[in-house]
């Protein structure tokens, strides 16, 4: 086995996240490709949460149902995952925690006992971490380094005891591997050590920074809060103005006004919070103010499943806000795309004076994997505002439909922006015969005339073929891995990272396909509808694989679906 799926499951508050973070880091520094993703309940303590870790000697970046190794932190973990545990699953638990321990299914190891021996039951998790590292015979020094970094404020003794716990676990793991004759044959790739380990949230936040973001006003809401917290934690070094807004309405109005006044602003939110922003979105449309919106999806309607994943808000993002205006929607499928598209979002928003969305979801923002180091060049930020002179007209009607955008205080012009219909100076107008139609066209036609050069084609993988497994946003790796496994010479993936508006060549690409099957995490096929409308090729329900349980789509489910439909 050169690709192991290991799951840690326990209650909120039992420290699963620390285990996840340390393990992926240690295994990466040991030269293994890694992926981790978590699923958790909407509570702070208790319940059943789990983290899936994939450890491999090649890149693995997708959720699988399969569990090779399970480390349950409590009894409930077993029932929580019962549908995914098979004959093949190796279950390793702290001795005494699981009932049917001793049966051939569950291997009990004395995590806590050993921890207590080392000094305290608080080290139980560290013993468990050590055990996993031992199972993979990975280099333990990165673990020691991490423990040192984490615990040195607490004193040398604590650091040493932690390290000891790690080593004790390590030995147990190694021994188990030998006793059970486990064939975890992972060949480390030294280059992996030089890569970065990063999740979706971090990639979006870093992308924003690379795009010159220096303002965020948002209201906490899972799963979008990570971007707010990340930017806040680097506010000082990068001069980012952070405001935890009183509500989402305030958040978007502040962000819009911030752009007006010269900042580069983002808001980060999720479905319900975004609903509240939609009037502000319309304001942005009317005033031709740039804006970047991170919309991290979760299952709805209403409060729904606050900590789960979904792709239910695509249609909403396309149509939200009353009246008509232009917008652009990115739905990154990979960490690299998340970074790059968010960076770009700022430049496009600025240049075209439109709102640009980053449409992610809980699965995407909470998943980590290793990627080659991100590089940025010195032109990562493209500023599009101008110094104004007297007589400046904010809404000058120009050839290409764009009016140069000024900033109050930069030059002598007065920047006059109005949410009412307005003339070129931004003054309110009721001229229905000329100004109103001209201004409507200016706003709406950005889509047709201007975005042409900006629109991107979907990713086709591995190459153009007869049949397509189509997906968008966070399903990139899930579908890609399924296509890889199926090795069907007629089948390729078509992944959309830019979902609205669609490139005109998509009509041809989809039109020419023999068969298509669309994978989406919603119950109605929102992207399928969009594609049908755009291409004129009606995609019936039988060709839509819709998953709306709140869990991420798995590689296995994609494979089964494709096989059943004869792909």
């Amino acid at each position: 086995m050169n690709d192991i799926s290991l799951i840690i499951c326990g209650a909120a508050g039992q420290g699963i996240q620390t285990v996840e973070q340390m393990l992926v880091s240690i295994l990466k520094m040991a030269g293994y490709h890694g992926f981790s993703t978590k699923e958790y309940e909407s509570r702070v303590r208790g319940g059943s949460n789990s983290t899936e870790l994939r450890i491999s000697d090649h890149r693995v970046n997708a959720f699988v149902d399969r569990i090779d190794v399970l480390i349950p932190f409590d009894e409930r973990a077993i029932s929580h995952l019962k549908n995914r545990i098979t004959e093949e699953t190796l279950i390793i638990a702290d001795q005494g925690t699981i009932q049917n321990e001793g049966s051939k299914d569950v291997i009990g190891l004395p995590f806590r006992l050993k921890a207590e021996e080392v000094g305290s039951r608080l080290y139980t998790n560290v013993v468990a971490i050590g055990t996993v590292v031992g199972l993979f015979r990975a280099d333990i020094s990165q673990g020691e380094y991490l423990l040192e970094k984490k615990f040195s404020p607490k004193g040398k003794d604590i650091v040493e005891e932690n390290k000891e716990a790690l080593r004790v676990g390590y030995e147990m793991g190694k021994r188990l591997r030998e006793e059970m004759n486990l064939d975890f044959n992972l060949h480390p790739t030294p280059a992996v050590k030089e890569e970065m380990l990063i999740n979706g949230n971090e990639a979006i936040a870093l992308g924003a920074m690379a795009g010159g973001c220096n303002f965020i006003s948002s209201y906490p809401m899972s799963p979008s809060t990570g971007v707010l917290e990340f930017l806040a934690s680097h506010a000082r070094q990068f001069g980012i103005l952070v405001d935890q807004a009183e509500d989402e309405i305030a958040a978007i109005n502040k962000a819009a006004a911030a752009w007006f006044a010269g900042a580069r602003a983002i808001v980060s939110t999720s479905g319900g919070g975004f609903d509240l922003m939609t009037e502000g979105l319309s304001l942005v449309g009317m005033t031709e103010t740039p804006l970047v919106i991170h919309l991290a999806q979760r299952p709805g309607p209403a409060t729904g499943l606050p900590t789960r994943t979904a792709q239910e808000d695509l249609s909403l993002a396309i149509h939200a806000g009353h009246g008509e205006f232009c917008r652009l929607i990115y739905a990154p499928g990979t960490i690299q795309q998340a970074f790059e598209l968010t960076r770009k979002a700022f430049n496009i928003a600025d240049r075209y004076q439109i709102p640009v969305f980053i449409l992610s979801d809980q699965y995407f923002v909470d998943s980590y994997y290793n990627i080659p180091m991100i590089e940025i060049d010195d032109n990562s930020v493209e500023y599009s505002f101008v110094r104004t002179g007297e007589g400046y007209k904010r809404y000058r009607l120009t050839e290409n439909g764009l009016s140069p955008r000024g900033i109050p205080g930069y030059g002598d012009g007065l920047i006059r922006v109005d949410s009412d219909e307005h003339d070129e100076w931004g003054h309110i107008t009721e001229d229905l015969e000329e100004l109103r139609p001209a201004m409507v066209e200016k706003r709406v036609q950005k889509r047709r005339r201007l975005l042409e050069g900006v629109l991107e084609l979907p990713t086709v993988y591995p190459e153009a073929r007869e049949n397509y497994a189509v997906c968008w946003g966070s399903n990139y790796h899930v579908v890609k891995e399924a296509v890889d496994i199926l090795k069907n010479p007629d089948l390729a993936m078509m992944h959309f990272h830019q979902v609205y508006p669609l490139h005109k060549d998509v009509v041809k690409m989809v039109g020419q396909a023999e068969k298509v099957m669309i994978f989406e995490n919603n119950a109605t096929g929102q992207f399928s509808d969009l594609l049908s409308l755009h291409t004129g090729r009606q995609i019936p329900y039988s060709q839509r694989f819709l998953s709306y349980s709140g869990a991420p789509l798995s590689v296995e489910k994609v494979i089964t679906a494709l096989q059943q439909e004869g792909f």
Binding site: E194, A210, A235, R236, A261, G409, S419
Partner: protein
């Protein structure tokens, strides 16, 4: 440079009714601006939607005319991003205390360094006469044919309760007082609330010029504007309603200067460029 009140007036015709109290308010504001010699290029006028909210349309300055109820968050952001600007919010009682009530609370908590002039005509003017949060009990409207019965919103008392640093009320007909309070509000560092009684001659037949004259009086010179409990007590006085500055607190830090973004630089954000080196260093930490 010397300024005249006319320097702050746009040439466009005003869409207000003849006799509307907004004219007088606007005149006093222009005079205050001229006396303080605030260059139009350094002045950002912000408003929501309503009759009052049209004022920035007529003011020769930068303008951000936002949505109904949303002037305050916009103004806060503008000042925070571009602190060299003088930021003034003009909007109606419905806009600020009704639709925008939550932002009213939040701005006071932040002590944003902005001026908030609320044109309190105790009615929804633009939408033709529905009750506003400050409408007095008993007033009849099409939505309240048997009379309004909600407790009228008391902006001064709430502002004082929230810890606002400048709380005043004026009646626009008292031109001198109005101008002077506006000047003090603009000069005050922090969130300055000026609730300004104005007539809506078209939609409010109760709170007329005569009514305002009869039902208001000026706070005594001796009123201690630094005593919060005293200020509260005066703020809940009704009929007659005191006018003047009720409460003032100097020296409290304002929002933008407390933001981390200004810890190491006071430059407006648009003048700063991304530090790529630092960003590369940050990215490197993900290894």
């Amino acid at each position: 440079m010397q300024y005249n009140q006319k320097d702050y007036e746009m040439p466009h015709a005003k869409a207000w009714c003849p006799g509307c109290g907004n004219f007088g308010l606007f005149r006093s504001l222009r005079e205050a601006l001229a006396e303080l010699e605030i260059p139009p290029q350094h002045l950002v006028m912000v408003s929501g939607i309503g009759q009052a909210a049209k004022l920035p349309q007529y003011t020769h300055a930068h303008m951000f005319n936002t949505l109904h109820g949303r002037a305050l968050p916009a103004a806060m952001a503008i000042k925070a991003v571009n602190p060299e600007m003088t930021v003034i919010v003009n909007s109606g009682d419905g806009c600020i205390y009704g639709e925008g009530g939550n932002h009213f609370l939040a701005q006071i908590q932040r002590n944003s360094d902005i001026v908030n002039i609320v044109h309190n005509n105790m009615v929804y003017g633009l939408t033709k006469g529905q009750a506003s949060p400050t409408s007095l009990k008993g007033i009849k409207t099409k939505v309240h044919p048997e009379g309004v019965f909600n407790e009228p919103f008391n902006p001064l008392a709430v502002a004082i309760a929230m810890g606002a640093t400048f709380v005043a009320r004026v009646y626009q007909g008292n031109r001198e007082q109005t101008k002077n309070v506006f000047k003090e509000a603009i000069q005050h560092r922090g969130y300055s609330l000026v609730d300004c009684f104005v007539e809506c001659v078209a939609m409010n037949k109760v709170n007329t010029t005569e009514w305002y004259r009869e039902h208001t009086y000026k706070l005594e010179e001796s009123h201690n504007i630094h005593d919060r409990t005293e200020a509260f007590k005066r703020s809940i006085e009704v009929d007659p309603y005191p006018t003047g500055i009720f409460y003032k607190e100097e020296g409290k830090p304002v929002f933008w200067e407390q933001c981390t973004a200004y810890r190491d630089s006071k430059e407006p954000l648009y003048q700063r460029m991304l530090d790529h080196k630092r960003l590369r260093e940050l990215i490197a930490t993900f290894k």
